[in-house]
Structure formats: structure tokens, C-alpha cells
């Protein structure tokens, strides 16, 4: 089999397996009917959409397969940061004190999926909303701005998040 066809098969099977896993989590039963319906649905949808979920040029398994232990650590950290940011926002809503600015910085993550996760986490966490993501360039609205220097702002906003995302996805 040529490398192209092999890569296509790998992408297809990973998409189908992921969909089947979510289906099993959702129905939570081992009936023959639900197993068959899930398998059929997963195969059918994966054959249509595997090229959208995992693009052809994302040519590394670590680009979209997370490392489970690090993923768990990352999710715990994310929950912690969401609550920390929410309490800060609560205080800002009460006092009305804030210093919103727009900052730009770059990320060192390489895959589209990891960058998407980083942008989403930035939107979720420390009083920041991602405005734009062009390749590795992020434009962020930062609500509690302390500096507009690109590298310093990047360290402050991404902080530990990027380091952990790098451990989960490449």
C-alpha cells in the first residue's frame, strides 16, 4: 500500500474510533442494537468527514492524539484556572476596575489542533478573549493588562497553559 493510502486509512480509523467512543459514552449500554447502530454511524460519518477532522498535512500522530496522563493534568489545571479567572472577573464586575488592551504574541505549538486548544483555553481562562489566530500569531483582548510588550504579554497570558498543551499535543 502506498504511504498516501495508508495515511488515509489511519486518519479514517482514528476518526471512526473516536466517534464510536463518544457514542458508547453517550448510550452507555452494550446491546447488540446500540453497538451496531454506533458502529454503522461512526463508519458512515467518518468516511464522509475524516478529511475535515484530521487534515492531510497534519502528518504526525502526536499532532492530534493526546497523551492521556498529561491530558488529565491539563484538564485539572484548566478547571483551576477557569475558577481563578472567574473570581477575578467577579471582583472586576463589582469594583468596575480593569485595564483592557489588545496584545499580540506568538505561540510555539506546531499543530492546528494544539493551537486551537490553546486559543480556546486562552478564551476560557485569565480574562482574555482570542480575537484572531493566524498560523502562529495570536491577537488577544486582555482584560487585566499589565504590559503590552509582546513576549512579556505572551508569557503572562499563555503562561503555564502553553507548556502543558505542548506536553499533551505536539
Amino acid at each position: 500500500m502506498r504511504p498516501e493510502g495508508k495515511w488515509r486509512l489511519i486518519r479514517f480509523s482514528i476518526t471512526a474510533l473516536a466517534m464510536f467512543a463518544v457514542w458508547m459514552l453517550f448510550v452507555w449500554s452494550l446491546d447488540l442494537f446500540s453497538l451496531a447502530a454506533g458502529a454503522l454511524g461512526a463508519l458512515g460519518i467518518a468516511s464522509l468527514t475524516y478529511d475535515v477532522f484530521i487534515a492531510r498535512h497534519q502528518a504526525n500522530l502526536r499532532f492530534f492524539l493526546p497523551r492521556p496522563v498529561h491530558l488529565a493534568i491539563y484538564l485539572c489545571l484548566l478547571f483551576l484556572l477557569i475558577y481563578q479567572a472567574s473570581f477575578r472577573m467577579l471582583a472586576a464586575v463589582v469594583t468596575g476596575r480593569a485595564s483592557p488592551r489588545i496584545v499580540h504574541f506568538k505561540t510555539r505549538l506546531r499543530s492546528d489542533f494544539a493551537r486551537m486548544v490553546l486559543a480556546n483555553s486562552i478564551t476560557l481562562t485569565p480574562g482574555t478573549v482570542t480575537l484572531d489566530l493566524n498560523d502562529d500569531h495570536l491577537t488577544v483582548h486582555w482584560f487585566f493588562c499589565s504590559t503590552t510588550h509582546s513576549t512579556a504579554a505572551g508569557n503572562e497570558v499563555k503562561g503555564r497553559l502553553e507548556a502543558y498543551v505542548r506536553k499533551v499535543w505536539l
Binding site: A98, P100, I102, T128
Partner: protein
């Protein structure tokens, strides 16, 4: 019986926290002047409110089947909520909406520059 009661009381506390976050989000939505800051307050506090409610529901779940569904909902919500607020913010940014700066008067004093 007592274990169930403890769970219910804990869940009630968590739901109360969710109500607090949701209220803060709504207040922030009306308090801040520009779309970005309003989005910050409403999106962040709204996300936290829904997440907290889901955690409370997880605590009250009668079986693993229900708990797994709540977990799937949390995962989908963690993907969809920031994406939604990002799309709104991106449109505001591309339309050239200026950013609210509370210290504008102090930094621009003497320059008489139109905002």
C-alpha cells in the same frame, strides 16, 4: 440516606455558586461600555456558571450512565462556548471596533487627540 442528603446539600451549594457567577455575568454585560469587555464578563462568567451547574449535576447523578452523559456535555461545552465568544469578538475586531480604555484621559492628557 444520609449520604444522599450530604450530596444534595453539596449540590445545592454548588448551584448557588453557579447562580452567583451567572448574575455577575449579566451585571458585567450591562456595566462595561465596549463589546469586548461585555463579552469578557458574560462569556467567562456564563461558562463558569454552566460548568458549575454541570458539576452539581454530576454530583447528583443516580448512575454512571447519567454521569457519562454529563461528562460528554461538559466536553462539548468546553469546545463550543469559547468558540462562540471568539467568533463574536473576531467580528467586532474585524469591524474595527475601538477598545475601551479606562485610563485614556490620563494617558492622552494634553494631546487633545480625538479617540
Amino acid at each position: 440516606m444520609t449520604a444522599m442528603m450530604i450530596r444534595e446539600v453539596l449540590a445545592a451549594c454548588i448551584f448557588a455558586a453557579a447562580v452567583l457567577f451567572g448574575t455577575a455575568g449579566v451585571i458585567g454585560l450591562f456595566r462595561f461600555p465596549d463589546p469586548y469587555s461585555r463579552l469578557q464578563a458574560s462569556a467567562l462568567c456564563g461558562t463558569t456558571a454552566v460548568l458549575t451547574t454541570c458539576v452539581g449535576a454530576l454530583l447528583l447523578a443516580p448512575s454512571w450512565a447519567v454521569a457519562s452523559r454529563v461528562i460528554v456535555i461538559i466536553i462539548f461545552f468546553l469546545f463550543s462556548a469559547p468558540t462562540g465568544s471568539h467568533i463574536v469578538a473576531r467580528f467586532a475586531w474585524n469591524a474595527g471596533t475601538p477598545v475601551w480604555r479606562p485610563d485614556r484621559l490620563r494617558t492622552l492628557k494634553g494631546r487633545r487627540k480625538a479617540p
